[in-house]
Symmetry: C2
Subunit: 332 residues, 2 copies
């Protein structure tokens, strides 16, 4: 019997090792990430902070992870999705606003004159936001956003913007949550532009979405309470505003931060430059074929200072082309 068993061993090793590698493949939480130091830096960090009794163990309540949205979780080229929304809304509302034909920055939008639009600067953008994001209740705005996202298509991929999310980042979000992390979005984008769809697309509920906002007012309309959106900026959740927003709304210092541009620099500094185990990651867009390649010179998602800071602070830099097996869920 024993001899027979021993004799059978070499034959057994093949199915056994097959079984092991198959099990290991099944438990790879990040299948769209190529093996290498980038992927290892993520899985090592998660292992360290979740190893009970280990020197870097972090209690589940303190496992807060913050993610930028534009360029970190979904596309931001050829322009921010919310800017595409603004331009579409101006066109949709133009018939009710005949004066816009001759008034900047609306004239530039309606005539497709991107140079004149850029020349209108921040003041022009604020006017466009006021015209398209205010003057209605929060419920009404959520409806407008949802309807637009259901019908709008990205000019290059011809797909809804909510499909242009990064598969490796979806896996990363899920992996963190499976390990007790609470995942937040901390975006320069409008908070009420994101909340209607972040739960469905990213698994991130409304209360874990932070963003820029305009002022709102509570009022009774026909005996019904509403939140009315006003044409004034309330908070810009970008650059140094990100740690301010995190402190204001979460009230905990994150232990992991994920971004892709200079707008995320201060959030990454705030997260990683303190005692204890910390993780910072920057998505570097290096893949013009499958997505886009841009950094220091880009109009949207400029990555310059934060790329230099990544080297100094030992943040992980994702080389999209090298590190990601696939970019979008729909790609092979």
């Amino acid at each position: 019997m024993l001899l027979n068993s021993l004799a059978a061993l070499p034959a057994l090793t093949i199915p056994l090792s097959f079984a092991i590698s198959s099990a290991s493949a099944q438990t790879d939480a990040l299948p769209s990430w190529n093996e290498g130091p980038t992927k290892a830096s993520i899985t090592d960090f998660v292992t360290r902070v979740t190893t009970q009794g280990g020197p870097d163990f972090v209690a589940p309540a303190d496992r807060t992870a913050v993610f930028d949205n534009d360029g970190t979780l979904w596309v931001e080229q050829p322009m921010y999705v919310q800017l595409a929304f603004v331009l579409d809304r101006v066109k949709a509302l133009a018939p009710q606003n005949p004066g816009w034909k001759t008034k900047q920055p609306f004239k530039a939008v309606l005539g497709g004159d991107m140079r004149a639009l850029a020349a209108s600067g921040e003041q022009g953008l604020i006017q466009l936001i006021a015209a398209t994001h205010a003057g209605m209740t929060s419920e009404e705005f959520a409806k407008v956003t949802t309807e637009w996202l259901a019908t709008a298509r990205d000019p290059r991929f011809k797909r809804p913007y909510t499909e242009l999310v990064y598969q490796p980042m979806l896996e990363l979000l899920a992996h963190l949550r499976a390990n007790g992390f609470k995942t937040y979005i901390v975006s320069g984008g409008g908070v009420e532009f994101m909340r209607p769809w972040t739960e469905r697309v990213y698994g991130i509920p409304p209360e874990q979405v932070l963003g820029s906002s305009i002022k709102t007012r509570f009022e009774m309309r026909d005996g019904r309470p509403v939140i009315f959106r006003l044409p004034q900026i309330n908070f810009i959740d970008d650059k140094a505003g990100k740690p301010v927003g995190i402190n204001q709304q979460i009230g905990r210092r994150p232990i992991a931060a994920f971004g892709n541009s200079d707008g995320d620099l201060e959030m990454l500094q705030w997260t990683t430059m303190s005692g204890g185990p910390r993780f910072g990651l920057i998505v570097h867009h290096t893949d013009a074929e499958r997505e886009y390649a841009y950094d220091r010179q880009s109009h949207f998602g400029k990555l310059d200072k934060a790329l230099d800071a990544a080297a100094v602070n030992k943040w992980t830099v994702v080389d999209m082309k090298r590190d990601w097996k696939k970019v979008f869920p729909f790609q092979e």
Copy 2:
């Protein structure tokens, strides 16, 4: 055997019914609430929204409950706890600020002249807040708050303020959470004054605490990132500010709201005046012996319009004296 069993039945009924009533007592989630319509309105609501397949079932993700703090979860007499903190801090900081001896509103605080202090109005209060809440980092402020709460004693009960919390409300918070609710504080008090202790005292983590705030700024100090507190009001989370804050930070409409004063009126309206099962509750302070009795004429926690609105909107009104078996955890 069967006959024997049947013969034994009457004898069995006594221990059985004892066992049932004992089990029922053990599962009373609100033991400090006297039986009656107030308690029943709470347990009925919770049963309705958690009964799967029932007409009022609410998915766990939508079970958001918001609680005022001052006068709803802890004492607000003879003055708001945070005001006691301000007065103590002015006294503690006076030696470093010799000019305060002759300058209002500081002079009024140092001389215990409450009439002069009241006369300084909102502008005086803002000066006091600026002098005691700003000019330091968020970490430093948390330390000051924590140290003060550890040593300060309520003038009547001679106990730390964090012991002057309402036992029936602690049970209610726990009961809601046990039934899948996410419990939030939405207070007019300072958000960073509350966050250091709400998890320990109420089981409510920092990210579920909303409150008033001053402006803050992110900056690098000696190569270390900090959030610095500035002497300017950022947001007043009171009255019509409460639904605005809820929409801004939670991004969901609550299905249950708990308050005790006119400062909670709009939050209760926003929560309850919409379709679907909703619950509103007002704590009416009617117990001068065990706590305090006040409503329409009170300087702190005035309950006037919201008491009238409670009747119109069918909000539950807690008669503290009648409905609560005990008020504080330390009372028999």
